[in-house]
Symmetry: C2
Subunit: 439 residues, 2 copies
Amino acid sequence: MTRQLRLALRAYGVGGPGQHSLWKDPRVPKNASIDIDWYIAQAVAAEHARFDALFIVDSQFIDATYPPHYLNRLEPLTLLSAVATHTRNIGLVGTLSSTYNSPFNVARRFASLDHISGGRAGWNVVTSFDTGTSRNYGLDEHLDYATRYGRALEHVQVVRGLWDSYEDDAFPASGDVFLDPSKLHSLDHVGEHFRVDGPLNISRSPQGQPVIFQAGVSEEGRNLAAHVAEGIYAPGGSLADSRAYYSDIKRRAAALGRDPSHVVIFLGAQPVVASTDEEAHRLSREIFEADNDFSRKLAQFGRAFGAHDFSVYDLDAPFPDVAHLAEKSGRTRGASIVSRAATVGLSLRETVLEFTRYQPSPFTGSPSTVASAITSWFSAEAFDGLNVGFRTNDDLSAFVSDVVPLLQKSGLFRTEYAHDTLRGHLGLPIPANRWSVAS
Amino acid sequence: MTRQLRLALRAYGVGGPGQHSLWKDPRVPKNASIDIDWYIAQAVAAEHARFDALFIVDSQFIDATYPPHYLNRLEPLTLLSAVATHTRNIGLVGTLSSTYNSPFNVARRFASLDHISGGRAGWNVVTSFDTGTSRNYGLDEHLDYATRYGRALEHVQVVRGLWDSYEDDAFPASGDVFLDPSKLHSLDHVGEHFRVDGPLNISRSPQGQPVIFQAGVSEEGRNLAAHVAEGIYAPGGSLADSRAYYSDIKRRAAALGRDPSHVVIFLGAQPVVASTDEEAHRLSREIFEADNDFSRKLAQFGRAFGAHDFSVYDLDAPFPDVAHLAEKSGRTRGASIVSRAATVGLSLRETVLEFTRYQPSPFTGSPSTVASAITSWFSAEAFDGLNVGFRTNDDLSAFVSDVVPLLQKSGLFRTEYAHDTLRGHLGLPIPANRWSVAS
């Protein structure tokens, strides 16, 4: 089967990471990030354009330095449940931390969303890494990196086990038999991190199990992704970086005996589309300049090191010794920064400026330029799909009305939904219930 | 101000406690308990009748002996978020266990529902008491009774503290100021059971904070209710029992310095309405006989003792020694059973038959009989409101079209909504933000 492009919409509230000034845009409601109608409108627009999924990011810690969208946000599962009944086809992927939610609760909530949406739920598994978050849950420090990922793997396995509590034909509901008790199974899981008996008190949905998403970047993160992810949010970067990540993940999955096409890799992107390439680049630069504030960048920069406060250092002294923080957070961004600063001998100020410098999206330009770039990156196996984010409804509309039709015309992207589940859209099989297989 | 009757609808799926055969009714979809449209239809009907709230019960443990509605159910917060965008006025009360959900997650989820619904969320705080549930969360045994309630009280206090993280005017969103940082507050709670720093990453809704509901029955439960509950689900029983419970709770609240009218007591009821009293009583008996199965009753009976398995005992021997289980569960039903069996010298079989005998609802009869009974119980201060449950949409329709108008005609129940928040409906004040008060 020919590879088909996938498109997900990363929902936007009052901007995203690093966007502090978007709330001043008259087209953006000041309370957009807690306005359910704002999200429903995005989902409806994306579904009208035949997108695969709506994706909701999340975070559990703030202080006053965080960008507006972080400060005041809806919780993903409640948000997506409300969106579900106003859409019919689009997938609904929510972020939830495996570190701060018990497997039984996670399994229930996504299974419930999966029923409410008729088989369109996806769980983006994150492990949460900053100290601020851990202190909202009674811990002094976040779990160390290896424990966090080992625990995450076991967590996902328990959740999947709970999702199979009922076989698909467990409820004949005929004659005198509502439930066939032989088709209800306890899990009786006893592992290193969890003990969960089950069974779960909800049946499987039309797609069998919600789809597992993950954003594996570090070594352990990539291994987790290769083991359990069916959708992946890739870190982005250059074409070469993206191709390297893509082939690495597919290779790891294949080495574990998985079909690499059942690991769908989405690259995060914020396309900037205008009538001409020049206009798009001017707009892109304008967006950058609107938030080009050094003290905010310094705060955001610290988040690659577990929300470390860099304002305590002399900006013009050599880059401080924070390698242990980068390692602890388990994200490669911190490690790259430390390595680059040491190799070139940069000051803190120089390092921050370099890592927050202007880097226009590779998908910036006129509609045909953007469509061509998407096509060539896709063909080069830099991604299976894009997870696109926008600043305003106007930006989404421009992409949908001017770029998507070009992708459809070239046969890269669907013109009609062929399925009504998220697994269907992504070409993922319905996992057979483990008990039905066994018997 | 004259006391006004409140009405809540206890949502129904495929029956309720003890109802095993309702799925055979051709008017009930076999998958009703996981069908979001089924719940939306109930909410819309109840809102049309100007009900105060829709109430969603919950449980986290099943085995094959449980009634159909328990076996396969939606999770309350996802369910209510979906219902929220299809209604405009009715309150939305969801059950969530304080024992198995962290305060930060509880605070976020209800605050999110509160924004999605425009200020209509309520949290029914339960502590969960059976061993099966604890084993779904990695514990061998449920927490003992005193710990569970002490922990619940602190849990609610933390959640309320988190709900006040932002003062109401924290987001001026004008000039250059999106957030006024002086109006964002950490909680920095350190208590016996929880340590939670905060702040919460979501602002207060139009009703300030979601409404706290509780169902306090035991001594500790009543104290918890008197301390923190704004709505109470009362245990039911005779008119004398209900009046005694009502006055006890109001007295305890007053003794703690609270305004007793700010503790709204709902009595659970399943009215059976027909064209004549005789017809209603015939119907009521028919409903009882449909599920009059001893082995199922035995299983349900065990739930008053933490889901204890009574099938291991000789049915005709004296009632077994399970006083320790009744005490551990912290519910008074178990203790009443033990005491009655010992006093009269009943066998297990006799005890089960006595405590599961036919007891028609006091609200059984023709529309005028039912309306009169409601009026007289209300006037006698047996309750401030009823939390009515039904078996089918037909039963709800009969109540709404034939009984509610009589209650409206007598001035007991509203004909139009005067408010659009749950606090407004229940006559509860909007709690002032603790930080605004302090400054």
